[in-house]
């Protein structure tokens, strides 16, 4: 009886895993399979949500389950605790909302070729992510991790006739397997240290610092590749941009968080983590945030912009985690509570507003058939509901009050300010606060650019002019997520209970000495200020209404400084909006420009084009892989084709191993 919550979660995960399967037995032109998949996803997610609620109210009912199985080394051990809970919320939420969204966005009747495949792997990936978060055995963790990675590949390559989607998915697959390779090493070292594959040990036995360093580096690179910390983010922009939008939503909102989950667990194992690791996390997080948003500001592709903004947000999350880790090393409980609290809250927040923005982007792409923001424009009038959602999402992701992003960033800021006042020799860490301020300012620049170029002004193309608000099945999930953003922003105290418990679970035995979030932050004031702000704006709106009833208002064209016929072609584009920022950051962004060459008395027609490609991918990874391929060419004689030869290799190696064993 005391494992009932765990069993409920396991059942809901199993149902989600097979949610796409019934669709395979229905015709390619039938919507029935899609309805079944959506219904199964909703029911199972509701069940999972109920189980999580039970866990919050009665933690004694969620004891771990361990079943022996025939796979060597491990056992089927799963459990749920408060850290797992925080990561399970987005998994269930976005899986259900995404499958509802898919009913309008990726109708089986419109996507005969790949709709069934998408739903099959949707369920499998969601279930695998839930298993990753619940696994308490290294082997089970790796199996779930690998299934998640492969299902993610098939989701990104949903449109397998599209070369860009194939390239993006290929990058993802390579990155995922490099990460998995590191994790194999990580779990083997971990099992070597602890003596078993059981996860997650609350405190590691003392080992040599070299062994600890190896463990930390393997774990950070392996999990960092999934989370997309700069410069390990190479798969992220291409993968997110070319997948269907609800897949981008779940990749960005949820899949990236499994990498964060790994980092949180890794840090949680160390009661006394080495100082260099905490500082590395803090610095890497800050650079990831700054460069991520810098790249975002230069993008023309709506979904690539959002993908780079995910890198930024992961950076913020990692900054909080780095702060908490340093707090643990230097014995500052306040840093731990504020850093980890902000980090975990940002995990939840980002899984609310980023899927909402990707779903909004999907609605735009669905309506206007282009992702190029410089071909859009004027959608605020033709897609008013999507526009409202986008404004809320953009304000939330910029961390503006009174929305949820503000609360999590506030916690991290407060932690960083603590380092300035009681950090002694570690006061320099507080420099991450101005870095976060810079990130906030650049996020405003990027998202105002997005809003302005896509929704404001006049349409720049016929496609944009013909746009319209999407199907209610696509709007509903966005309304729901927008509501969650407002609720957490106005009533952040709701989250503090779960966060406190997760922090106590993370710090382990020294939990009693810890302050709570409520003791460090006055949530009542935050709620009061959010209400005051909303009331002030509402009051202003009422006054304005009253006033406009009694006064004349006229309509006219935009004042364009005396020019008689302003047209959409004269509008400021998104690229020009952030050009000055991109120009200042040439040393990091390496933008490509095709400058017009003007000459002669009668200049011939010319054109200007600019883009911001991914510096790390184009100038680091791809050249490195090409030269690696050239080097490997020397070994190709061994790979001549006949299967018998390969079996011979296997046998030879086995014999060698036996000889040396």
């Amino acid at each position: 009886m005391n494992t009932i919550t765990t069993w409920l979660l396991l059942v809901s995960v199993a149902v989600i895993a097979v949610s796409g399967a019934p669709g395979l037995f229905f015709g390619r032109r039938s919507m029935i399979g899609q309805w079944i998949a959506a219904a199964l996803n909703i029911v199972a997610s509701a069940l999972g949500g109920a189980a999580l609620l039970i866990h919050v109210l009665r933690p004694d009912l969620s004891n771990p389950i361990a079943i022996r199985w025939s796979i060597p080394f491990g056992q089927f051990a799963i459990a749920v605790d408060d850290i797992s809970l925080i990561f399970l919320i987005p998994i269930f939420l976005i899986s259900a909302l995404g499958s509802i969204y898919g009913l309008g966005y990726w109708k089986q009747t419109d996507h005969i070729a790949n709709g069934r495949k998408l739903r099959l792997f949707w369920g499998i990936m969601t279930a695998a992510m839930a298993m990753v978060v619940m696994a308490r055995d290294g082997v089970l963790f790796l199996i779930a991790w690998e299934i998640m990675a492969l299902a993610g590949f098939f989701l990104i390559v949903t449109e397998d006739d599209n070369q860009q989607a194939r390239d993006g998915a290929w990058n993802y697959l390579v990155a995922a397997h490099l990460g998995a390779l590191c994790l194999f090493g990580f779990f083997i070292v971990l099992a070597h240290i602890t003596g078993s594959f059981a996860l997650w040990p609350t405190s590691l036995p003392l080992v040599s610092s070299r062994m600890t360093a190896g463990l930390l580096i393997a774990g950070t690179v392996g999990f960092g590749l999934k989370a997309g910390i700069m410069p390990l983010h190479v798969w992220l922009p291409g993968g997110h941009a070319n997948a269907p939008s609800h897949v981008s939503a779940i990749l960005s909102g949820v899949l990236l968080k499994t990498g964060v989950y790994g980092l949180v667990r890794l840090a949680g194992m160390m009661p006394n983590p080495p100082l260099w690791w905490g500082s590395t996390l803090l610095i890497a997080g800050a650079f990831s945030a700054m460069l991520g948003i810098a790249f975002a500001s230069g993008q023309r592709d709506l979904k690539r912009l959002l993908a780079y903004s995910s890198i930024e947000n992961i950076g913020i999350i990692v900054m909080g985690l780095g702060l908490a880790t340093l707090g643990r090393s230097l014995h500052h409980p306040a840093w731990v509570v504020l850093g980890l609290g902000g980090s975990l809250l940002h995990v939840i927040n980002h899984s609310l507003f980023k899927p909402m923005l990707f779903m909004g982007a999907g609605s735009v792409v669905h309506a206007a058939h282009t992702r190029d923001i410089d071909l859009l424009g004027g959608l605020g009038k033709s897609m008013p509901r999507t526009f409202v959602m986008f404004v809320i999402g953009a304000a939330a992701i910029c961390g503006l009050p009174p929305l949820n992003g503000f609360v999590s960033e506030l916690l991290i800021y407060l932690g960083l300010f603590r380092t300035a006042s009681d950090g002694a020799g570690w006061g320099w860490m507080a420099l991450a606060a101005p870095a976060l301020a810079l990130v906030g300012a650049m996020a405003v620049a990027s998202f105002v650019k997005l809003l302005g170029a896509v929704f404001a002004g006049l349409p720049r193309s016929d496609r944009a002019a013909a746009a319209h608000d999407p199907h209610p099945a696509m709007l509903g999930p966005m309304w729901f997520l927008a509501g969650c953003c407002v609720i957490i922003g106005v009533l952040p105290v709701m989250a503090s209970g779960v966060l406190n418990r997760a922090i106590a679970g993370w710090t382990g035995s020294d939990a009693i000495a810890n302050p709570t979030l409520g003791g460090l932050v006055n949530f009542r004031w935050l709620s009061a200020m959010a209400c005051l702000l909303l009331a002030a704006v509402a009051g202003g709106a009422v006054l304005f209404r009253r006033w406009s009833a009694g006064h004349a208002t006229g309509r006219a064209g935009t004042w364009d400084c005396g020019y008689a016929q302003p047209s959409a072609r004269m509008e400021y584009t998104g690229s020009s909006f952030t050009q000055s920022i991109v120009d200042l950051l040439t040393w990091a962004l390496w933008p490509r420009k095709k400058q017009p060459v003007l000459g002669g008395v009668f200049a011939s027609p010319s054109s200007f084009a600019s883009e911001v490609p991914d510096t790390v991918l184009d100038r680091g990874v791809i050249p490195a892989f090409s030269s690696a391929r050239w080097l490997m060419g020397w070994a190709r004689f061994m790979q001549s084709g006949p299967m018998q030869l390969y079996i011979l290799y296997v046998m030879a190696i086995l014999i060698l191993l036996l000889l040396f064993a």
Binding site: G377, G380, P384, F387, V391, A395, C398, G399, L400, P401, L410, Y413, F417, A420, G427, W428, A430, L431, A433, P434, L436, A437, G440, A441, V444, A445, F447, V448, L451, G452, A456, G457, W525, M529, L533, A536, V537, G540, A541, F544, S548, A552, G554, R555, A556, G557, T558, W559, D560, P566, A568, M570, E571, Y572, S576, F577, T578, Q579, S580, I581
Partner: protein, 307 residues
Amino acid sequence: MTILTILIHLLLLLSMPPLLLGVISKTKARFAGRTGQPVLQLYYDLARLLRKGMVFSTATTWVFRAGPLVTLASILIAGLLVPLGRFNSPIHFTGDLVLFAYLLGLARFFTTSAALDTGSSFEGMGAAREVMFACFSEPAIFLAFLVLARLSTAVTVSLSPMLLGPLTVPLGGLPIASLGLVSAGLFVVLLAENCRIPIDDPNTHLELTMIHEVMVLDHSGPLLGAILYGAAVKLFILSAVVLHIVLPFQTGWFVADWALFVFEMLGVAVAIGIVESVMARLQLRHVPTLLVAASLLCGFGFLLMLR
């Protein structure tokens, strides 16, 4: 006394800002040998705008109307967080300084979105400059806050104890070098955030070179009034912040301290007027250099505190 302080705070916050702009323009006029407009001109302008009708561009949506309202609301609420003179602000709690900075960010988000909503390329240019310059001034503000956090003995990270902190330290104990660097950096930020010379010229007549004024070209009537008033309040609260660092003195008498604050604010306005009179406007491409220098000044101030 607390209730009286709150009332005086509200009274000054709501009524004094337009006066500062009047003093600035009077100072400039005197420097140029003109009589200049009356000191209370902005009050008359606001009263006139409230009576007028409005014209909306056909390209605009609700964001265009919401822009000035949200901007004014968030700036006024930010004004409730800043302590004026030697007295605590009406609202102070842990973390209010982050709220302060992000309320200014919210104001910027909506001002620039409303500007882009018109689809005018000039307003787009102004908005692009506004968001870029904020990328320099926001870190500078936070670096200045860090210096104060390092200085203050209070554990709470809040504007009132931090900005009033230098008052409690005896003059000899103040880190003059740090506070001097931060004062200089923040003064540049004050000029940039309020679009004064040498960053922006509020009186220019060429749309191509404007920053703040060009973003509000299409607004008219009460909405324009809200924008002008909001800009004045922003100048007021940022000046109040800078004053705490530049002049950390108090007399100890209630009335004298408030009178001193009013005189200091007028002094800041005169100082801005003098800067505007003796300097030319920088070329736009040189503005980032100046703002980076301001951030670096605040950064050096912080590094000195780390010793």
